[in-house]
């Protein structure tokens, strides 16, 4: 803890260190990678289940989908379309005035992209994604011991790639 505090204070005091904007950009790149890998994994699952079958959509998690990256989402990125549909449904219900607690009717409640800080959104994803990719036999303790959101997102990426490669083997 002390090390982390000292490191943070040194980083903040050193004008040569990357500014916050750069750090947040790096985090957002990792965040996008996680979404792309998750999409790839779910499509792989759907393909392996055979024609006409779809992998379950992690609706609770989709509320954390960030805005598209500068180059846009890839054309085969299925989660974007699903998220858009869910968001429209959600906004529709909201505009019909179901009140402040209307979220209780939905698994999908999107984070407010305009007001919720992207750093906190990435941090939340780094925990929440394990509801989908964790499971029996997966040790979660290392996630509590890594010190940064970036490292936890990297662990998620590695886990998803391992699972996908096992599925495809």
């Amino acid at each position: 803890m002390l090390d982390a505090l000292e490191r943070a204070l040194d980083t903040a005091a050193d004008p040569a260190e990357p500014v916050e904007v750069e750090a947040e950009w790096a985090l957002s790149v990792l965040e996008v990678q996680v979404w792309l890998e998750l999409d790839h994994l779910l499509r792989t699952l759907a393909r392996l289940r055979g024609a006409g079958n779809q992998a379950p959509v992690p609706t609770q998690l989709l509320g954390l989908l960030p805005p598209p990256p500068a180059s846009g989402w890839p054309t085969d990125f299925a989660l974007s379309g699903m998220s858009t549909q869910l968001r429209e449904r959600f906004e529709g219900a909201r505009s019909e005035g179901e009140g402040a607690a209307f979220g209780s009717a939905f698994d999908f409640v999107p984070v407010d992209l305009a007001h919720y800080p992207s750093r906190r959104r990435a941090q939340r994803l780094s925990w929440a994604v394990w509801a989908v990719i964790g499971g029996e036999g997966v040790r979660l303790q290392p996630l509590l011991e890594v010190q940064s959101t970036s490292d936890r997102l990297r662990l998620a990426l590695r886990r998803m790639r391992d699972v996908r490669q096992s599925l495809e083997a």
């Binding site: 803890m1 903040a12 699952l45 939340r124």
Partner: protein, 311 residues
Amino acid sequence: MSLVTLFLFQVAAFASTYRCTISKHSSTRMRVLTMTAPVGDLFAGQDEERNAQLQLLRRSFLAPTEQVQAPPPTAARSIGLYHDLPSTRWSFEILPHHRKVLNVFQPQYTLMFEKLLATPEPWLYAHVLLPGGVENLANPEYELRPGTKAPLHGTLMQIVAVKREVDSRLTLLVQGLARGYVTRSTQALPYARMDFVILPDDEQLVANARRVSHAWEAQSSRALRRRLLCAASAAEEVHWRAYEHANTTLQLSLCQVETALAEPTARNERAAIDASLASTMPSAAGTAAATAAAAAAEEGVRRCWCGRGRR
């Protein structure tokens, strides 16, 4: 079972939500739940006056006495340190932003949660993995201190919903709030208690270190700046809690956000962190600044809630 089936099972288990039979008060901010039992007294547990008397008796029995009650932990809490927090140590992890339904049947944990529920909200506790589970609670190899086999990183938890079962078991819906670390064990048995500090991620620390440096660098020592950094990060964590851990449903395996709170929470974040920083400063100037910043934060929150009420 193939790997595909296994993984699909995991995804499907996440996608489908579990069901709770707990009924909830109308207020979304309220975390106390109606407790009903299928059998009980002559009125099948529905005699509200009797239930209230029983609740009072239970609280008076379980609540800490004045003699042993700790002073309000404001100063420690402001830097993210929770003194003498009750703790569960089971053979599984619970991550921040995740929710879990607990079936509490072990006597020591029934006692622990009943004592916690007899105190005012929020009902916070820590959860730390214990390999082997309860059987290792008394095992010296798993004592909560550095150098043993016991993991010391865990999760700050909050009880969201409670149901008392007729056989004295408790069904609890709990959610993980933040990552943390055991700094000191204060009790080992019958259940663990500990000093527990929340651990912000590096990215959060760096962002707040800039805030601290900009505002206080000229006036503070390195040690004080470390303390201010803890305070700023803890304040950020607590400030976003109502938004990130809304209690709008009992049916999800992940915490849900409170949509209406996004804008006011973002708007008041700076004031909340400034208030925390100012109150952490030991000087008279710090006290004056704390008062001003706290007033600004309170005003922001007041405006936010008044605004919500009018809609």
